[in-house]
């Protein structure tokens, strides 16, 4: 065949280089168009598939837009109460130290109501992975302010922009977690560009490898959009993320 091969022929004869992992179900995701949760789900499952440990993994879904993660991640999952995923993961992991246990949590879940469970799972050095989707807002409940909401950012509970003096600064919880000896790896990633997706996936892989090697708790924060909550188009929201979120939540490894 030559360079003039048609797309149809390529599809028939070419190598398949990308398709949905089997560790994602066929169910259509419940997320808004362009929401970063989808990519974060997928790369997490791709890592488990590539490590060949999907059938040894137990995931914890939070309360937040990803509450239904168990409908999409094609593995054993538990749905945890709002903020308590790290405690739930602790309960499982302590009994199945050789299984792969991870939580998947939003910023409201992990950094507001769940701060205590987060900090103490870190402090005990639970040998788990936390995938932390920081979209600076409570997506699920209609775009209320989160502890991670940027200064001046509008949300349904900061309709005139977050007032740092009244409500505090956007919390950098991953940096706080990194200060604890029980945390072996803390990194901040994003998934709104192809290169970043690749990097984020590598980070998640490293996190699960750490768990395999019993190194302690790994946290992978993913700065993501909530285009619905931010009231922007998906494309616009990713630009806004780049310009506004990343200066406050800079990407890269924080620890390990």
């Amino acid at each position: 065949m030559s360079n003039n091969i048609t797309p149809e022929e390529i599809i028939k004869n070419g190598t398949l280089v990308f398709e949905k992992t089997k560790l994602m179900t066929d169910a259509h995701l419940s997320y808004c168009p362009g929401c970063g949760h989808g990519v974060a789900h997928r790369i997490t499952m791709e890592v488990l598939e590539e490590m060949g440990v999907g059938d040894q993994a137990i995931g914890i879904a939070p309360v937040g837009c990803s509450v239904l993660a168990y409908d999409f991640m094609n593995i054993d999952m538990q749905q945890a109460a709002h903020g308590r995923a790290p405690a739930v993961a602790t309960g499982i992991k302590r009994l199945y130290p050789d299984k792969f246990v991870f939580t998947y949590q939003g910023d409201g879940d992990l950094a507001a109501i769940g701060t205590n469970e987060t900090i103490h799972a870190c402090n005990r050095g639970e040998n788990i992975v936390i995938i932390f989707i920081n979209n600076g807002i409570y997506g699920m409940t209609g775009g209320q302010m989160a502890p991670t909401t940027l200064g001046g950012m509008k949300s349904s509970t900061s309709p005139y922009g977050r007032d740092l003096g009244m409500t505090g600064h956007p919390i950098k919880i991953t940096e706080m977690m990194a200060t604890l000896p029980g945390v072996c790896y803390a990194t901040r990633q994003a998934v709104h560009k192809p290169g970043l997706v690749r990097k984020a996936k590598k980070a998640i892989r490293k996190a699960f490898e750490n768990q395999k090697d019993k190194k302690g708790l790994s946290i992978v924060e993913i700065v993501s959009n909530c285009n619905s909550g931010w009231k922007m188009s998906p494309v616009k929201s990713n630009e806004w993320l780049e310009e506004n979120m990343l200066p406050v939540f800079p990407l890269g490894d924080i620890k390990g």
């Binding site: 797309p7 949905k20 259509h28």
Partner: protein, 79 residues
């Protein structure tokens, strides 16, 4: 050297027309369809399919796992 060629298949019923793949494609292969799908979204399609280089950018950023990518690497001319 032979140019690598690619092709994509979009699951139009999964697609939510978010436009992210359109923006991510380095060779402007993808566009959104004027017709809506069953869910009322304008799904992506390879408007300029020949330009695809199988870079997977589109599939990497697609939150809804709509895009399958195939690659074709022609016999190297020198062989």
């Amino acid at each position: 050297m032979a140019k690598i060629r690619g092709a994509i298949v979009v699951d139009t019923e999964r697609c939510k027309g978010c436009d992210l793949c359109v923006v991510a494609c380095p060779t402007n292969v993808i566009a959104l369809n004027k017709e809506v799908n069953g869910k009322g979204y304008n799904p992506a399609f390879p408007k300029n399919h020949e330009a695809c280089i199988a870079c997977m950018n589109c599939s990497l950023v697609c939150p809804d796992m709509c895009i399958t990518v195939y690659r074709y690497k022609p016999q190297k001319e020198s062989v």
